[in-house]
Amino acid sequence: MKNIKIKIDNIDLVVPEGTTILEAAKKININIPHLCYHPDQAIKANCRLCVVEVAGSKKLTPSCSSYVFEGMEVQTNTKKVRDMQKGILELILANHDQDCLKCLRNGNCELQALCQRFNISKTNLEDTVDALPLDDTNPCLVRDSAKCVKCNRCVDACQKVQEVHVLTHSHRSIHYNITPAYEMPLEETFCVFCGQCAAVCPVGAIVEKDDTAKVWDAIYDTGKHVIVQTAPAVRVALGDAFNLPKGSIVTGKMVAALRRLGFDQIFDTNFTADLTILEEGNELIKRVTEGGTLPMITSCSPGWINFIEGRYDHLLDHLSSCKSPQQMFGALSKSYYAEKTGIDPKNIYTVSIMPCTAKKFEAKRPEMVTNGVQEVDAVLTTRELARMIQSAGIDFTGLEEDQFDNPFGIGTGAGQIFGATGGVMEAALRTAYEVITGKGLPSLNFTEVRGLEGIKESTVHIDGLDLKVAVAHGLGNAKVLLKQIDKGESPYHFIEVMACPGGCIGGGGQPIKSTMDVKQKRIDAIYHIDEDLPLMKSHKNPDVMRLYDEYLGEPRGHKSHELLHTHYHSRGMKYNFSELMKQ
């Protein structure tokens, strides 16, 4: 690639052809203000905040959408530029609900940071917030158009990354807005609640529904035994909220913080991830050997479940009947754990810490009930946990490391890698290989299913059978594999799908600014934990095996079926046009 010589703010630099001014400036530590630009997304150039002066051009140039050319001279900080940027910010602010103290993104808002940078506290323009009604009737996400800056990042996430196509821009001029078609509330659309929109929103226009108050109430309730489980992807992301380097592994500090918050017992979802592998692995073996519906597709990701139950409800037989690790934990907490501790399931309050907004929806599904009580009582995203820790005044970075409690405290490396795309597949293969062949694996790592490529595939030779597997992350990629199945052309036996790009480490509930670079660091951290763990295969988890001995019997046995498996069903969201045409 050709290199281009340019000058930004009188500093000479050489950048590859095809670099934008904004990206080039970043290389010499100049952060040009922007709202709609996002490093992982297509260029939108609609906020116009990133304008700069280019020598030879009378007009200001948007730096996010302008590529460098040989000899280009750019000024990013002239009076003309700053006045324009300030003017744009004031206009945006005049149409933005400025009640910052009430906003979940207070202190973590890109608009707020820019206003601080330009010393704008209150605009002298008349406020004209012309907004649609608040959309907060679903259990996962809150959309407040009074705060929307119309940057279109959420639309990009919803349409291009996830291909869910719920959010769109609509109307024009002063009525221009971001909304689902016909301004429907999210739960009446095909929204899967993956939260990728909330993860890229620069302001507080789309946020997770905050459940921290509910959890505080439970902790303060002396009649409640409050237990908590933490998903594998949280421990490599929570540190972001406390300014630790991206991809820091904070398992011990997280457990310590949870104990200080007042949870009675702190458990590891990795335990039930291992359990999932035993159930799902056995289900796969049964389907392959006894001629069940193939390919079998994983069912751990609730965003993915919402997607297939919504638009592809004719393919539900392909889903594994396993509940997700979160719900397996919930079911065990209200049965096995209740019996073991002698606590009435009604008095056990089970909290999950998840990287995911859709988990809130999953926990509320009416069928997710064991012994007459909801299996998981409250789901907090990584962001909400960080807020609780901050709110309690805990100095997170200074905490001494603590350990998970028993009986759900041991997780193997196989459970840990659930957090990264390809992880469930790899974990399942580690177990399935040994269960079927009775032999140890030649190599533990199925590296072909790792990494950030959209769709990964591999073939594993197990006792004469060539098991063909595929892994997709991001629903746009999942759609490709579904269309193959639809046409009857899917060559696979087993498919792992995670709704979010990168898997759970890139979940919609993770700390803000989880760009692809950050996701890669989290994935590296996940495999690092895997390698450091003494146990790397789910069926070697001693506590899981004890659970089968003491309580469940065998994988896919009667008790397992009752507690750990479920039925997925159509969301009934489609208009029945074919029925209409019969009339």
Partner: protein
């Protein structure tokens, strides 16, 4: 594939669906001609609008996400996502009609029918809205009823005469 929950249909009938199929066929199901398709469909939907079920039908037939169809409907003033009426009265909102007195025209309609802009009469017969210039400046102030242009509407009597043709 872009539809959402419903218990049956309010507007769409199999007959209407077949007509929509024909319109889409006429435009060779070309997504770049979506505006023309939607305008033609709007003309045959009672109350002259595109309800969600119809937009969804179009989106499935043409394999365009519903959100995109809605983006188009909401962008163009000529397309409505809310029910209008049997007779859609459009007043030109451009400079020439303003100068020649389209406020008198509007007031006359409000007095005769009791509706303001973006409103329908209680019987669902008439709907009043402003529209960009439709090229009748030579006979301004002008209005359009269901596509037919009436000009020189400077008196209440002339407005009434035009309206009387639509009962």
């Amino acid at each position: 594939m872009n539809s959402t929950k419903t218990n049956g249909f309010g507007v769409l009938t199999s007959d209407l669906a077949l007509k929509i199929d024909e319109i889409i066929q006429t435009y060779e199901s070309n997504s770049t001609r979506l505006v023309g398709i939607l305008l033609d469909i709007q003309d045959i939907v009672p109350k002259q609008y595109i309800p969600r079920e119809v937009a969804t039908y179009v989106s499935e037939r043409m394999n365009i996400p519903l959100s995109k169809v809605y983006d188009v409907i909401s962008f163009y003033a000529a397309l409505s996502d809310v029910p209008r009426a049997d007779y859609v009265i459009q007043l030109c909102d451009s400079v020439v009609c303003k100068v020649t007195g389209n406020t008198i025209l509007r007031d006359a309609i409000t007095e005769l029918l009791g509706i303001k802009e973006q409103e329908a009469t209680a019987d669902g017969k008439y709907w009043l809205e402003y529209t960009p210039c439709f090229g009748a400046c030579d006979i301004s102030p002008a209005m359009r009823i269901n596509g037919k242009v009436f000009g020189h509407l400077t008196t209440q009597a002339s407005v009434k005469a035009a309206l009387d043709q639509y009962k």
